[in-house]
């Protein structure tokens, strides 16, 4: 019996391994449980998704060299979201899946420094230089935003807003899907816009 489970598990794992390079986004449909992961932050502390059971979690893919990320950080838009929702109990993780040597990669020290310099306020910046979690979630761009509800279900997968540009002037005109979804979740409502095309630079995987 146990053996059967093991073999099925291995087959499933094998299936996903085969599937993942072809359809990196297919593993994370909205409405399904968000896949678990553990990653270190810049201080070396490991964060597991399961550590934050019962909390609303935001995953933000980050690359400070990318003009689209600059749009949301130079304007203070991303920091404002991190602070506003952090104060309401939302756990916000920024994830860096850039490989060493590629744009956006930061050593743990550089990461800590950058957080201070940008006055960013995520719970932590998680380091994913192998790109494992990025590929697990199908992170396509920086930024690419995911929201997990208090039940552990992925409820949003997509862009930060609806204006695909690098211009900070567009932020005020855009519909911010992350803000909309978080407000709805905090009010105990269903998320109305559950997905949108993420826009930005490609994730600099290895």
């Amino acid at each position: 019996m146990k053996k059967g489970v093991l073999i099925t598990g291995m087959m499933l794992a094998g299936f996903f391994l085969i599937l993942s390079p072809l359809a990196p986004a297919a593993e994370t449909p909205v409405g399904k449980p968000a896949p678990g992961f553990s990653l270190p932050d810049s201080t070396g502390k490991t964060h597991s998704l399961s550590d934050y059971k019962g909390k609303i979690i935001v995953l933000e893919w980050l690359n400070h060299g990318c003009p689209y990320v600059k749009k949301h950080y130079n304007s203070g838009n991303m920091q404002k979201l991190q602070k506003t929702y952090g104060a309401k109990g939302v756990i916000w993780f920024s994830l860096v899946s850039s490989a060493p040597g590629k744009q956006g990669y930061m050593t743990p020290e550089e990461t800590t420094e950058t957080v201070q310099q940008k006055k960013a306020a995520p719970k932590a910046v998680l380091l994913d230089p192998e790109g494992t979690v990025g590929k697990l979630y199908g992170a396509k761009t920086t930024p690419h935003m995911f929201i997990i509800d208090s039940e552990g279900v992925l409820v949003y997968n997509g862009g930060i807003d609806d204006i695909r540009s690098t211009s900070t002037d567009d932020i005020a005109k855009a519909r911010n899907f992350v803000q909309m979804a978080l407000d709805e979740l905090l009010a105990g409502k269903e998320v109305t816009v559950r997905t949108s095309q993420p826009y930005g630079c490609s994730v600099k995987y290895k």
């Binding site: 359809a23 540009s165 997905t195 095309q197």
Partner: protein, 324 residues
């Protein structure tokens, strides 16, 4: 965007601008407010000095732009050196990309941004939307984009009013924004100006560029009414039905669909073509990022055998109802 670290300022005047107006524009930047409502600070200071120097001392009108390491050079080119009142004429935004860099199509794909043109025209002039040549599919192991490498001419038709006076010169200005990527991405922008004399007797073709306009038009997706195309969606798949005309005797193979709309099709997904009762069906994967499919499907079908009898036209424009 004011902190314009990456913008390219490249203006070529020799083909259309009366020399004096160009010289005035370059030499007296602070005395003139352009159509963008700003003093002409859009010419990079070192670049400006260099250009002024060249214009003053050597008195040349042939400017090859400020050579720099920027990935894109932008330029406006008119198909006519002079225009007539009431004429519809074509203006190209020419983007020259450095080696391995690309700019984007209307649908940039998984990442990137379409090039944007904001026209600033004299009263009574109207610009149509951009006519986009068929793009290239640019693939990396992790994403798919649509864009242009090396060089592209993005065409726009501009209609002059009947009332425009002959003997005048009109200023056609555009604020252009693009994103250039080669692995990393750099946004660029330029404020470009063309001066076109109005002549009610004749409109003089711009021979220097005629070949480029012709080649660009040949590379536009075409509609072919003898090919019947329709589309349907079922269980997360989109099916594009293609019924060849009677003269088509070959096997349809190696077909790919470039969606013009963003976020409808999973661009990394497989596209498979199979024979059906009356033709072929191309099956494409629906994107994860759309919960509700649109009423219509727009895009380009690429065939390496071509869609016309000679096999020259590789891109078939599709704009059909999407039955669900």
């Amino acid at each position: 965007m004011k902190n314009n670290e990456t913008a390219i300022k490249f203006i070529e005047a020799r083909d259309f601008a009366p020399r004096d107006s160009f010289v005035l524009f370059i030499v007296s930047p602070n005395m003139r407010t352009n159509r963008f409502g700003e003093k002409t600070s859009f010419v990079h200071a070192p670049c400006l000095r260099l250009v002024s120097f060249v214009v003053f001392l050597v008195s040349v009108t042939v400017l090859t732009g400020c050579k720099n390491s920027e990935p894109v050079k932008a330029q406006l080119i008119s198909e006519f050196k002079s225009i007539q009142p009431g004429q519809t004429f074509c203006v190209a935004l020419r983007l020259e990309m450095a080696k391995q860099w690309h700019t984007y199509w209307k649908n940039p794909g998984d990442s990137g941004m379409p090039t944007k043109i904001e026209w600033h025209l004299p009263d009574g002039f109207h610009a149509s939307g951009i006519q986009w040549p068929t793009p290239q599919k640019i693939e990396t192991p992790h994403d798919v984009s649509f864009g242009y490498e090396e060089e592209v001419f993005l065409l726009t038709e501009i209609q002059a009013p009947d009332a425009v006076k002959s003997g005048l010169s009109v200023e056609i200005a555009a604020r252009v924004d693009w994103l250039a990527c080669k692995e990393i991405c750099i946004p660029g922008q330029a404020n470009l100006i063309l001066n076109l004399p109005v002549d009610n007797k004749r409109s003089e073709p711009n021979k220097r560029w005629a070949r480029h306009f012709a080649a660009t038009r040949r590379n536009m997706p075409q509609r072919f009414s003898d090919w019947e195309v329709n589309a349907s969606a079922k269980n997360g798949q989109i099916f594009i039905h293609i019924i060849p005309p009677p003269w088509f005797k070959k096997e349809l193979a190696g077909i790919s669909f470039f969606p013009e709309q963003e976020g409808i099709i999973d661009l990394s997904g497989k596209q498979e073509i199979q024979s059906s009762q009356d033709g072929y069906v191309l099956e494409v994967q629906r994107s994860l990022f759309t919960e509700k499919l649109p009423q219509r499907l727009q895009g380009v079908l690429i065939s390496r055998y071509g869609w016309d009898k000679l096999g020259h036209e590789k891109a078939l424009y599709v704009d059909v109802s999407l039955y669900q």
